[in-house]
Every structure is written in structure tokens, then in C-alpha cells.
Symmetry: C2
Subunit: 135 residues, 2 copies
Amino acid sequence: MKLIQVYKCLCDETRLRILHLLSHRPLCVCHFQEILHAPQVKISKHLAYLREHALVETRREGAWIIYALPARPAPELTANMKCLQDCCREKAVFTADLRRMAKALANCGGPLGDDCGRPISGLLKKSARRSRSGG
Amino acid sequence: MKLIQVYKCLCDETRLRILHLLSHRPLCVCHFQEILHAPQVKISKHLAYLREHALVETRREGAWIIYALPARPAPELTANMKCLQDCCREKAVFTADLRRMAKALANCGGPLGDDCGRPISGLLKKSARRSRSGG
DNA sequence: TAGAAATATTCTCCTTTACGGATATACCCT
DNA sequence: AGGGTATATCCGTAAAGGAGAATATTTCTA
């Protein structure tokens, strides 16, 4: 993997926030829309960019597409994600994202409940998922 | 300091190589030209970019302008420079740069002899500096 | 003061990138 | 099959970034 392509991916704020979130757990597109308050096309295109450059992997789960960091990440990526986590710890933008992530997962009936081994408390049925579009 | 601006500086190969060199010691423009085999305007503009974003500092020494990492770098910069060094250790491009750096300093009569506390062996008089343009 | 060397800036051209609207595709449910 | 939801892609536009030629600026030296 080229080091440059890692940095190219990190040098946009939206992608930086996406990767920071993914360094904590896999998420699907609708979560990013909600957490980052950004339109679908914007999120989708940045995720495509990250996937083209091999910084994220996808897996389909019914109608949802789940984005995650690579299962076997290159050393450059591992090092930089570690560095990113360290740098983000005190930055308001990123800590707020984490808070919104927890909230989004709690309100969501999507397929991520047991995705990374820890069940989401307050997981709702799919039929109740529409509450998201109202908040 | 904004984390984004660090990554924006790191996402160009020329700047990446410049910063990697500077993580080892201060250098002046003519050294970058020689080490990176790049025209003066290219080096100068990338250095200006880095300075605008506070990733490097300059100091004039006669006709030379010496570039160095900030004396008191932001934590984001420190972390990323450390990460960069780790990532570069095995990459041929960067190790070759270090070799050319040692050679360039040995051939150079510029002001960097005692700049970072370790004298350059083979330091020549200024009057002999022109030998650089021949090799 | 003239000239040479080191470095910076201006100008122009070209590529990449970010954005959002509209639309297409894939999947689920009935 | 048809409708709804999640996601991706196509389009045009605007801005940023990178390259290099020419030129300007600063400094040293004679």
C-alpha cells in the first residue's frame, strides 16, 4: 500500500471523521448520514473514495451495506489509525461524533447489533426504524 | 492546530519526502533540490505551502534559508511525524533519500555543519561549494 | 555598483477534487 | 410484479492543487 494514498484519504474532514468512527466500530451509510449531518450522496462518494483506496471494506447485509476498516490492514494504515485516535481524543468534533454514534446505534434497527461482538442496548425492531427520519 | 492541515501537507509525495528528511535534521532548499532531483520552483513552492500551514519554520543564514520542523511542534504534528518515521523505515524511496541526504551534506559548504549539533564530516569551505553543481 | 547565487513569486495550463441534484440500481416486503 | 428503502452513479460546476517558464528579491562578493 502506498503511504500517499492513506494521507490523501485522511486530508478531507468528512473522510477523517468517517475513518475515526470506523476505528471504533463498523457502521453503515445511514449512520454516517445521521452522525455527520451530511447528505447521502456526499457520504456515499467519500466512502467510495475510501474503498477505492483500500482503506475500508464493505459487506452487504440485506438492504444495508456495512463499512469497516480492512480485516487485515496494511501496517501504514494501522499506524495511522492509531495516530488518528490519539490525535482525536481531545478534539470536540470527534468526541461529539462518538456521542452521536452511540445515540444513532441505540435508535437503529439495522444489522449492526452484534456486528463487532457487543450488542447494542435498546435495539429496536425494523418496523420501528422509521423513528430515525423524524429525529 | 488543525489536524486536517497536517494531513493536507502529508498528501503530496514531494512534501512527504521533505518532511521525512526534516524529521531527521534541518536542511536548506538547495539540499532538497539535490536530494529529490526536483527543480527549484517545485521545492520552493512546496516549502512555502508547508510554512503557511505551520509545519516548518525558516531561518535565514546568509544567502541560505534553512528549513526545519517547528521548535515547539503541536502534538498532532509530533504524533504524525513519529508515525511517518515508522512508516518510512522500510520504504525504498525514503531510505534512498536519507542516503542522498548524507551525501549532499558531505559535499556541501553551506551553513548546516553544526546546525543540529552534529558536525558534518567532510565539510568544505564556501569557495569549494561550486563542486555541488558539477555532481 | 555590478554580477552571481539562493530563494521566492507570478502567471498560465491542466488535473483532481468536492459538491449537490437527479437518476439508477439493489434489496426487501407484500 | 410493484412499491418502498438503502445505496451508488451520472451530470455539471466551482474550487483547489500541482507543474513549469519567466521574473523578482535578497544576499554576498569583488
